[in-house]
Amino acid sequence: MSNSKILANGVDVYYGSKQALFGISMDIKEKEVTALIGPSGCGKSTFLRCINRMNDLIEICKVSGSIKVDNEEIISSSTDVVSLRSKIGMVFQKPNPFPKSIFDNVAYGPTIHGLVESKNDLEEIVHSSLKKAGLFNEVKDRLNEPGTSLSGGQQQRLCIARAIAVNPEIILMDEPCSALDPIATAIIEELIDELRLNYTIVIVTHSMQQAARVSQKTSFFHLGELIETGDTKKIFTNPDNSKTQDYITGRFG
């Protein structure tokens, strides 16, 4: 069995006085795709955003408990958020390329982290990241065009390329296909399958089929609680909890 990459223990999240997550404990394995499923407002995105501390942006959000990434505590005021986020890439629900050229979009991360010394190095990183994101062949002749001129699916892959350009170990995906058409979705799903070989991926999705297709592990959230987590196959065929059963068979949610 592979090792634990992310280990959450009793994570509580409050938005002001409203509690959004109740004691989430979870073990996310290295180089696997873990899908977080559940009805809207169940806290799956909130949990995802705890992992790279994006919840810091929300002033009223308070996180307690413990999340360890590679055995290092990240829910602490002494955590270096910048280096944490360079280790954990994130892809958002709506493609959000910078309104800059395709090249600059991917080059931004490596440049600010000082990962490159020469222009050639940078080009190398940009090209390889775009290749890994399966976008290079489509855009290689127009790297100077704005990233916002691409189609939705291409934009999302550009965002994936942007995330992997800083060489992260974990990629968080927050409903990456919800704004895309089925063909673009299929391409991204294939890509996720390839990325699994090198990265630990946590994906939030509304589509149970998608979770079944791309993930090895699935966690079911409901009303801020983690109901069940386990092998995807098991969750979708023979869940332990009746709520999970009801959700995946479409009785609610």
């Binding site: 790279n52 994006m54 942006l57 002033e59 910048v82 280096s83 986020r85 360079s86 890439g89 994130m90 958002f92 709506k94 959000n96 390329p97 910078f98 309104p99 931004y108 991360g109 600010i112 982290h113 916002t148 965002c159 942007r162 995330a163 350009a165 800083v166």
Partner: protein, 426 residues
Amino acid sequence: MNNSVAKEKIVSLRKKRSLEDMRFKYYGFTAMCLSLAVLVFLLYTIFSKGYTAFQKTIVLLEVDYNQEVLKLTPDSSDEEMEKGKFFRVKKQAIENFFPDLSKSDIKLVKKLFSINVDKEIKDYFLDNPEVINTKQQIWVTAHSDVDQLLKGNSRRDVPEDRRKLNDIQLSYVDQLVEENRVKQVFNNFFFTKADSRHPEIAGVAGSFMGSLFTLFTVFILSFPIAIGASVYLEEFAPKNRITELIEVNISNLAAVPSIVFGLLGLGVLLNVFGLPRSTPLVGGSVLALMTLPTIIIACRASLKAVPPSIKEGALAVGATKTQAVFHHVVPLALPGTLTGTIIGLAQALGETAPLIMIGMIAFIPNIPTGLTEPSAALPVQIYLWVESAERGFQEKSAAAIMVILIFLFMMNAIAVFLRNRFERKW
């Protein structure tokens, strides 16, 4: 039965609603027409009163550059020529302006010419020194009274004692017109000279430059401060009571009467810090204080308009907060920020009251060349001219209003251009 009543009610209500719709459309249309009419009337008044200021009256004068009278020789050096007795040449020219003038008539004729004529005679000679000992026909500037008479701005059918020109002078002017020795040309003085006691040689160049230097000061002071303040408030400030208090007070400051800022400038900048009075430096500082709240509010609005997803994207690849803000949010907000700044500058351009308080209302007859030189500003110049009793200044003030309006129009056009050119859509 019940059903049909309900139907009737619905139909009549629908009619009423559509009528209401129509009525409101017409109210709106009427309101727009009214405001347009007022605007057109305003512009018409300004243009019809002011357009004559762009012309000046010149008179043909025969000047005899006699070397005896000038006390010069053809071999005189440039410095000697500078000191030539040109006033004697002018005196002679005026004495011979009409044949057989009596001593009292000469005095009257002299008043038909601008005070600037001495200089014009001299300049003509310095440009063409070879004319020594020849008689030259030169077009020189007429006095404002003649100018106004010929433009039809002052009436000749009022009693003599209520006129600037008496009957004899009027007959001389008529004679000049008959002999084609007087004509109207483009008034270059209006655009090249500063203020003057004499309307015919007063121009807006001085106050225009003053306004330009003032606006420059405003921009240099307010733009960086406004960007800094709004970026801090929008992106970095903790959301607490103090921040809220500051935010509310910025909005309050935007509504403070401008004269209060003038008093502040007088009390603090002039009296405490001892900065030079009547200068664009002080005027600009005061106006910068006045426009800061406006610019900060505009800057914050454009920072707010940048979608948070862009900042999130930058943070997610490991940018620090400062990097995310200055690499992504601020550049995207820049067009809006610049537009807001230009609107603020336009507001500053039209401000009169605070400038009066810090002494920019002084009579400044030369064109300023720096921030610390006394100077006027366009709106104050207009105020000064409107106040003047001389007829010639009336058309000047209308024309100066045109200049300031065109200036404002151009600034707004730049703002619109920047917004359309650089604004991004998401």
